[in-house]
């Protein structure tokens, strides 16, 4: 439970003159649910992008199971068991819900050109199994009846669930969720977080969640990290973090300013 599976050490990242992250170090423990909070612009998503390989850090290292994976491209990180969702949905709009999820299984699918052209019974059987798996995942996130619908025909809450199913189909060991409840009302948010918690247990994941909805995250997370202006200001149990004066100051401003 407590072995570190993923570690970021002294990560730095600037965009032009803006220092998005300055020497951020966070350790992720196997099997935990880690919540990341912080005001807008505090560098949460940038941290995710660096872990998932979508952006390269200016300094510092990311290590996965003790191996240095800094700057590896996203498709290699996916192969190493890291999956993520996006703050602004990124679904494949020209594809059905089922195909979106199947896309998540890209790395396990038969990919050789000749293999696909010949489509021997063994290949066809693998394809069928992949479809069944994808359908099972759609059922698990409550979209079982929408397999043939297009991403553009789903409601906002459903698209969030679809993105989750797609990420799960990469069979990750670590799942990064960037604001899973953004734009949802309390009831929807509660539903999706319960789903997330359930999935985390079922698939034995290490879960990292960025969330603006602090009470919801306190309910979900086992440990929390608070970022402000590109620095870790507090780390601990959810109760400790939300009562930390730095965190309160970051969210509400300090007394002197008020």
């Amino acid at each position: 439970m407590n072995t570190p599976i993923l570690a970021c050490e002294n990560i730095e990242k600037s965009f032009g003159g803006v220092r998005a992250l300055r020497t951020v170090s966070v350790t992720f423990r196997e099997g935990e649910i880690l919540g990341i909070i912080g005001p807008n612009g505090s560098g949460k998503t940038t941290l995710f992008n660096i872990i998932s390989g979508h952006e390269a850090p200016d300094g510092g290292t990311v290590s996965l199971n003790g191996h240095d994976v800094t700057g590896k491209p996203p498709h290699k990180m996916a192969a190493l068991g890291l999956a993520r969702t996006f703050q602004n949905l990124r679904l494949f709009e020209g594809m059905s819900a089922l195909e979106n999820v199947l896309g998540g299984g890209h790395l396990r699918a038969p990919r050789g050109l000749l293999e696909q052209m010949l489509r021997l019974p063994s290949t066809a059987a693998r394809d069928r199994a992949a479809r069944e798996e994808a359908q099972t995942l759609l059922n698990a996130v409550g979209l079982g009846e929408h397999a043939r619908n297009f991403a553009t025909d789903l409601s906002y809450g459903q698209t969030k669930r679809l993105e989750l199913a797609r990420a799960l189909n990469t069979q990750p060991r670590i799942l990064l969720l960037d604001e899973p409840t953004a734009g949802m009302n309390d009831r929807q948010a509660r539903e999706i977080l319960e789903l997330v918690k359930d999935i985390k247990e079922r698939f034995a994941l290490t879960l990292v969640v960025i969330e603006h909805n602090v009470p919801a995250l306190v309910w979900l997370a086992e440990r929390m990290v608070a970022l402000d202006a590109g620095e870790v200001v507090c780390e601990g149990t959810p109760e400790e973090v939300v009562q930390d004066p730095h965190v309160i100051a970051a969210y509400l401003g300090t007394g002197a300013e008020a």
Binding site: P73, F86, G94, A109, M117, N169
Partner: protein
């Protein structure tokens, strides 16, 4: 209807109809029109892989078509190699050059890709038109040998018809397997959202190069058929105009749709060719008419006539949205704040 066209049964019915046509004795002229259309159906298919499945707006397929034609013609004229060898050499040559060209192109945004491929097309024309010792320049290469393999030689229009039908059917079948498999899905993921495609493990550069390689392979093979069918290759057969037409075939017919690729070739080749004698202006104005049809289509179906879903690349979707707003069909998109408010309601 669209579902039937895309089904295996639909393809079988279509194939049977095509196989029966020569038995009805339509005459040499009509068979010739269909023969040329079938050759272009391969070009259209290649363009559709690159543009429809992988979402890249390439405008240089005529150069790869021509590269295949010249490769095949020169190999058979100079070295007397058998047709089968020349045919595959043409495809492989176009495929390799296409893959090499795509490598630097992938570093630029998709609209610049169009510009670079246009430049390549022009470059190809200039080289073919001026490298006298190799290509004989504007005089072209006459007397390209007939299509011959395993003791069979194609003489009549009907002979060619069945040769082309078998080759084109096999190509469409092979492509249907690829586009129906993980490779096609990876291409579509790249078209719809590169960032998300990377996140699920797709090596984006590799699959884009692969799309170019396969698309140009088909164009090169088509070029070989063209050279040995018309028995003449000359630079003016591979002008930029032909690339525009190939792009129009892919979009008009239907992006990421096999029947769409075939329909595109039919619209842009068969109809103008069939009316060549009575309505010669159709051939001359073809790229213009195709372009005008495209603009109209962009308003309602940016993904083309026979596509079952919205398979238009991002740039065409944006163009479509812009046109629709421009003529007042849609209102401006809601701001994120408005969207949040609606979602919370």
């Amino acid at each position: 209807m669209l579902d039937f066209l895309h089904s295996r049964r639909g393809a079988a019915v279509f194939l049977v109809i095509l196989a029966v046509i020569p038995l009805l004795d339509p005459g040499r002229y009509w068979l010739h029109v269909i023969n040329v259309t079938m050759i272009y159906a391969l070009v259209s298919l290649g363009q559709n892989i690159i543009t429809g499945w992988c979402g890249m707006l390439t405008l240089g397929q005529a150069a790869f078509f021509g590269l295949g034609a010249y490769t095949s013609a020169l190999l058979s004229l100079t070295f007397g190699l058998p047709f089968i060898v020349c045919f595959f050499a043409a495809g492989i040559m176009a495929s390799i050059v296409g893959a090499l060209l795509s490598l630097p192109c992938l570093r630029v945004r998709t609209d610049f890709l169009s510009l670079i491929t246009i430049a390549f097309n022009q470059l190809f024309f200039v080289v073919a038109n001026n490298w006298m010792s190799l290509t004989r320049g504007p005089m072209g290469l006459p007397q390209v040998p007939r299509i011959e393999f395993f003791g069979f030689a194609a003489w009549s229009a009907t002979d060619h018809y069945y040769v082309f039908l078998v080759i084109v059917a096999l190509a469409y079948f092979a492509v249907s397997r690829i586009t129906g498999g993980a490779t096609g899905r990876a291409w579509e993921m790249i078209r719809d959202d590169e960032v998300a495609a990377r996140a699920v493990g797709v090596d984006v550069v590799r699959y884009k190069v692969l799309a170019f390689a396969v698309g140009c392979f088909l164009a090169g093979c088509a070029g070989s058929l063209f050279a040995h069918y018309l028995r003449l290759v000359s630079p003016d057969m591979f002008l930029l105009e032909e690339s525009l037409i190939a792009m129009q075939m892919a979009i008009l017919g239907g992006l990421a749709s096999l029947p769409g690729a075939a329909l595109g070739a039919f619209l842009m080749i068969a109809i103008p060719e069939a009316l060549r004698s009575s309505e010669p202006w159709l051939i001359t104005l073809r790229p213009g008419i195709g372009g005008a049809l495209l603009v109209i289509l962009m308003i309602w179906r940016p993904h083309g006539l026979l596509s079952r879903r919205n398979t238009a690349p991002q740039s065409l979707r944006a163009l479509s949205a812009w046109l629709r707003r421009g003529i007042g069909l849609d209102r401006a998109p809601r701001s994120p704040a408005e969207r949040d408010r609606d979602n919370l309601r």
